[in-house]
């Protein structure tokens, strides 16, 4: 499946992503944050694109057999059941789908900020570590040499 074909299924993909990483605790659903990443990955790597397409095709086929309204029309519980069935039948493709979903979701600035971290590059700002005294190493040092002299 080409990236264009994958993009044509973006509504289905979004619904799948929302099921993989649902909203909650102030975090949005992953369909809102990870969708563009998945489409970009599919465009950048034929191998990744093929795996994602295979996963999505399997979801689509299973959903069609389940309900006329398709995946998005299913209850959350039924969506999860369906995805677990796809995971069992297509483990490699589903693994790629989850991995890239997590990659996209947990690299998004909105997620980073919600996690309490500062979004953006880690340089040049780095992180401040409050100065603290080293724990007392006296007990360890007092053991004397623990190496064998050779």
């Amino acid at each position: 499946m080409t990236p264009e074909r994958l993009a044509a299924k973006r509504d289905l993909l979004r619904a799948v992503l929302d099921t993989l990483v649902p909203a909650g605790d102030g975090f949005p659903e992953s369909g809102a944050l990870a969708l563009d990443h998945l489409l970009a990955i599919a465009g950048a790597s034929a191998e990744a694109g093929s795996l994602l397409a295979r996963a999505l095709d399997a979801v689509e086929t299973a959903a069609r057999a389940d309900a006329a309204r398709g995946f998005a029309g299913l209850s959350v519980a039924r969506r999860e059941d369906l995805l677990r069935a796809v995971e069992r039948l297509h483990p490699e493709a589903f693994d790629a789908l989850v991995r890239h979903t997590y990659d996209g979701f947990y690299s998004h600035p909105a997620t980073i900020a919600r996690l309490g971290l500062e979004p953006g590059p880690v340089q040049p700002r780095g992180h401040r570590i409050e100065p603290a005294a080293l724990p007392d190493l006296a007990r360890v040092a007092a053991r004397g040499p623990i190496f064998r002299r050779a």
Binding site: V21, R99, T101, H127, I129, P135, I146, A150
Partner: protein
């Protein structure tokens, strides 16, 4: 074929050991040319300057050449190995990517046969290397603190230890409660400005390189000084084979330059510094009528006795934030409580614990080095929240023993982009190593629980853990059972030297870079002495 001006010494590879030997030789007035298949890494190219920095860990900045697939990389067939070899091809080599652990081998590590009746003794010892350890420490810049009873006294460290922070202090309490050895890691990462380099700002992902030069990589430590002393470094130069003169001595190498043209570099001596896989690959690709089984391979040991450090990983989950995203990712604390042989444990030799920092956001979701991905679906939010910034990972780094069936040879079909046969790795984890790692997992669980973890998960063998490539051109006195002598000279070709991890007779239970570089400096001084 174009032929370059003859040099005194040709060094192949500009990484940890190649840089050290080039600097030492150039400083003694010896003409040095180094051929490096990679290029300089521009500090502005590091992913740290980009908001999506973490995504690059599994793509173009992966430590695995088979994942990264950059033009300067060569493929490695690792299908017959449970551990994937890791490396980086650039000026600085794998020190670009390393976490900068800087422990030394211990005195017993050089006397394994005499003390424990396994493997072999090295033909050199700790005392021989000690001045080179010190010299190398000054060149690389080491954060740490003296007084560790796991070692003979060391010279003062260049800077104070890297901060332990909440995470390190937490696990330190676990070691204290158990009465076990622990010590702040010796790390080649500066905690204050040193030798023209900046102090670490604790940004975290050292494994993606260090864009400010606080972490030592030889492109910023040895190479500027080597070039100032007159060494010449040719990048994007991929060596195909080492050539021999009519006298049977090495007389240079044939390589492809950055434009793909075949060139010859002549030299009076050749030094191989291409890592424990690249070096045997090059020797095996340098066949001739005189050496039909590969150059310097009359012993049949080139490529054999491959040692990784097999890693097992244990990860504890705690009930409070640990600030694990702050500070150098790989380093905080080392423990060598179970380092020396105690046969009551069920294995010979031993291992170290290394405590890493916490997991970044994506790594937290995907399980990091333990690999237990946070479940998707309705449970995801809760499970992720319980894990993020609440984990401590303890790495168990075990001493691998040399076995001839663990080896590097040439793949019959796989090649690099120049058509040069690629290496193939065959490796099996030994029963001794398995028992050692299992012991380590159980003890790591103890210390994590003692530190307050409420649950512990583990990975019994880290696949993406082949950072250390050793043993494939071993050092020894007997030409029948070794490839190089005590001064790094090939028994079969006395003006051909090897200085990378290939020469290691045994691999100890700690990271090898400090010892590899000390050996390289020792070999360089032998070359200088013989010239004088």
């Amino acid at each position: 074929m174009a032929t370059d001006d003859r040099s005194d010494v040709l060094v192949i590879g500009a990484g940890a050991s190649g840089a050290a030997v080039a600097w030492r030789l150039a400083g003694a007035g010896i003409g040095v040319v180094c051929l490096e298949q990679g290029d300089w890494v521009n500090p502005s190219a590091y992913p740290h300057w980009r908001a999506d920095w973490e995504l690059h860990r599994h793509t173009d900045w992966s430590a695995e050449p088979n994942v990264r697939r950059l033009t300067q990389d060569y493929p490695v067939n690792d299908q017959a190995s449970p551990i994937s070899p890791l490396m980086y091809n650039a000026v600085g080599g794998s020190t670009i990517h390393w976490s900068a652990h800087f422990p030394r081998f211990r005195p017993s590590d050089f006397r394994v046969k005499s003390l424990d009746g396994v493997a072999d003794d090295w033909p050199i010892d700790y005392a021989t290397l000690e001045p080179y350890f010190d010299l190398n420490d000054r060149m690389m810049g080491v954060a740490g603190i003296t007084g560790d009873p796991a070692y003979p006294p060391k010279s003062p460290r260049q800077t104070a230890p890297i901060p332990l922070d909440t995470l390190g202090l937490t696990i330190a309490r676990g070691f204290e409660r158990l009465g076990w050895h622990w010590w702040p890691s010796d790390s080649a990462i500066l905690t204050r400005d040193y030798d023209g380099r900046r102090a670490c700002v604790n940004c975290g992902p050292c494994d993606l390189g260090c864009p400010i030069g606080a972490k030592a990589s030889t492109d910023i430590t040895y190479w500027p000084k080597a070039l100032a002393a007159g060494a010449r470094l040719v990048t994007r130069a991929r060596v195909r084979e080492i050539t021999l003169g009519p006298d049977g001595l090495a007389d240079g190498a044939i390589y492809y330059d950055g434009d793909g043209r075949e060139r010859a570099q002549k030299a009076r001596a050749v030094v191989l510094a291409a890592n424990g896989i690249g070096t045997p690959r090059l020797l095996l690709n340098s066949r001739s009528a005189r050496f039909p089984d590969g150059l310097a391979n009359r012993s049949g040991l080139v490529g054999r006795n491959l040692m990784f450090h097999p890693y097992a990983m244990a990860r504890g989950v705690f009930d409070r934030p640990l600030g694990g995203h702050r500070g150098p990712i790989g380093c905080s604390i080392i423990s060598q409580e179970f380092y020396e042989t105690d046969l009551a444990r069920g294995f010979v030799r031993g291992y170290s614990f290394q405590v890493a920092r916490g997991l970044s956001p994506i790594a937290s979701a995907n399980g990091g080095s333990v690999g237990d991905r946070v479940p998707w679906g309705g449970e995801h939010r809760r499970a992720y929240a319980e894990r993020f910034d609440r984990t401590i990972t303890v790495a168990i780094i075990g001493e691998d023993l040399p076995e001839t069936d663990n080896r590097v040879d040439l793949d019959p079909t796989l090649t690099d982009s120049h058509g040069i046969p690629a290496p193939r790795v065959s490796y099996q984890l030994s029963e001794n190593s398995r028992r050692m790692l299992d012991h380590g997992i159980a003890r790591a669980r103890e210390v994590l629980l003692a530190a307050g973890a409420r649950e512990v998960a583990f990975n019994p063998l880290l696949r993406a853990g082949g950072w250390h490539l050793m043993g494939t051109a071993r050092m020894g006195r007997d030409p029948a059972t070794s490839v190089v002598d005590a001064e790094g000279r090939c028994h079969d070709v006395p003006n051909l030297y090897i200085v990378d991890g290939s020469v290691m007779v045994t691999c100890a239970g700690v990271n090898p870079t400090s010892t590899i570089q000390a050996v390289a400096l020792h070999v360089a001084d032998g070359m200088i002495r013989r010239r004088a």
